[in-house]
């Protein structure tokens, strides 16, 4: 009887792990961070208390099967998870990705990185307009950066300063930090302008941090 219950509990455990893995895999698609509580809901009630053990196995499985890395991001008092790759690789482009949106993001991140400090939003709008990425009068289009990319943790959109001098600035979000090595961006810029990455000494220093 006890052996039976042991295999039964192992089965429950395995099922919980599998369910969590499936959940993470499906949820990952829209790049919106997953709440820890949402993953825990996938675990069988019997194992809710041992959620840590389950999650360790989930992480292992994601790494082993998909090459995914589950990254923990602390947001105030919540724990969020994002999924990135465990090892860098040159992924093929996807037909389902919105290319223009991705380009806007890449442009924004590059501009912020090269500037060396958070970029004021007026500066960002003018830059995107000059790049032909987002017209300056397209106010609703700005939501892509202020809402979507922020929610996905690609960008951080925060208030700097106080009172009348307060301005909103854009900076790299945690997801961008995990997914996009600074060296990679500097290399892109260097190639674009036909220079050596080392020429950009200030930026190069930042890649070493």
């Amino acid at each position: 009887m006890s052996r039976q219950s042991q295999t039964e509990s192992t089965r429950l455990f395995d099922n919980s792990v599998r369910q969590c893995v499936r959940y993470v895999f499906c949820r990952e698609a829209d790049k919106i961070p997953i709440k820890r509580s949402e993953i825990l809901e996938q675990i069988a009630p019997e194992y809710r208390k041992k959620s840590k053990n389950v999650l360790v196995e989930v992480e292992k499985e994601l790494k082993r099967v998909y090459g995914y890395k589950l990254v923990e991001i602390k947001d105030k008092d919540k724990i969020l998870y994002i999924v990135v790759l465990d090892e860098a690789c040159e992924s093929p482009p996807s037909r389902t990705t919105d290319l223009l949106q991705k380009r806007i993001l890449s442009g924004a991140l590059t501009h912020i990185f090269m500037s060396g400090r958070p970029v004021k939003e007026d500066d960002m709008w003018s830059f995107l307009d000059k790049s032909g990425l987002l017209a300056e009068d397209n106010i609703s289009g700005r939501k892509l950066l202020t809402q979507q990319f922020t929610k996905q943790l690609y960008l951080s959109y925060s208030k700097m300063g106080e009172g009348e001098l307060a301005r909103y600035t854009f900076d790299w979000g945690p997801r961008a930090n995990h997914e996009l090595p600074k060296k990679f961006i500097l290399q892109k810029v260097a190639v674009a302008f036909g220079t050596d990455p080392a020429c950009w000494s200030e930026q190069y220093k930042r890649t070493l941090q």
Partner: protein, 281 residues
């Protein structure tokens, strides 16, 4: 005035230490930033020392003036050295230049990020997992629960009744078989129509039975006679006519029944259980 005189030797020693600091940095391989910081501090301090003394004091202590001059000279050398070591090739970021490049060569800026999870859209439909995403249009105040259902592959147990239209002929033949069998069991005597079709448990089944029997009548496989005494219908099986043409085409049994009538009939005929039990899909 007296305080200035007391401090003269102290001031001189201060000047000397500043001078030594600055010259030491020249020899060391300190970073540009460090040199500039020190230079800045030293010049500030020298300025302060000069301001402390008045014109009279300065004329009385020319030695201090000399030291001050030396310190400044050393600081400016250090600063000059810093400027020279700055890389001539150093680029300054020009955002307009970047913007122009993106405008002219947008394809260059289409790339996947090295550690980004690629979109594997071709796999999404294959999962046996239904996930409803937290709706972004809902207000942040409303609690959005993500519902996950494990949709299992199930063989449908109950086929929709709508499909029976396709299987009509099969059922009709089943009814035919039943009537033949029952006829034999009844000693080859005509069967009471109502006893055959009525199902006390289900009105819809009754209607279906009437429907199938009417087909059989139309096709000439079942004969209908009205009883002489009560005018009640009786049915009996017959051979299918060889000749498809003929008067048989006029043979129809048109029955109408509603629930009230159905209930009454059941009561009158005292039917407690259905006679015709056939396998329906």
């Amino acid at each position: 005035m007296s305080t200035a005189e007391l401090n003269s030797s102290q001031r001189k020693s201060k000047y000397i230490s500043m001078y030594e600091t600055v010259t030491a940095l020249e020899d060391q391989n300190a970073s540009n930033q460090e040199c500039l910081d020190v230079t800045h501090k030293v010049v500030k301090e020298a300025k302060q020392l000069v301001q402390e003394g008045g014109v009279d004091h300065r004329s009385k202590h020319p030695g201090e003036g000399l030291l001050d001059a030396r310190v400044l000279h050393a600081s400016s050398n250090l600063a000059k050295m810093c400027l020279e070591t700055v890389d001539v090739n150093m680029h300054l970021y020009d955002k307009n230049q970047l913007a122009q490049h993106i405008k002219n060569k947008p394809d260059f800026w289409d790339f996947t990020y090295p550690l980004e999870v690629p979109a594997v859209s071709y796999l999404y439909g294959a999962g046996t997992l239904q996930v409803s995403l937290p709706s972004s249009t809902r207000s942040s105040q409303s609690r959005s629960r993500v519902v996950v259902q494990h949709a299992q592959m199930r063989v449908p147990k109950n086929v929709d009744k709508v499909q029976q239209i396709e299987n009509g002929p099969e059922l009709v033949s089943r009814v035919d078989h039943f009537i033949k069998k029952q006829y034999k069991l009844n000693g080859r005597r005509p069967l009471s129509y109502y006893s055959v079709v009525l199902d006390p448990d289900s009105f819809s089944k009754t209607v279906e039975n009437i429907y199938y029997v009417s087909f059989l009548v139309h096709d000439g496989l079942v004969a209908v006679e009205l009883d002489e005494t009560y005018g009640l219908p009786f049915i009996s099986p017959r051979e299918a006519p060889r000749d498809n043409d003929g008067a048989l085409h006029d043979n129809q049994m048109i029955m109408s029944i509603d629930m009230k009538m159905w209930k009454e009939l059941i009561e009158v005929f005292q039917i407690s259980k259905p006679l015709m039990v056939i396998k329906r899909l």
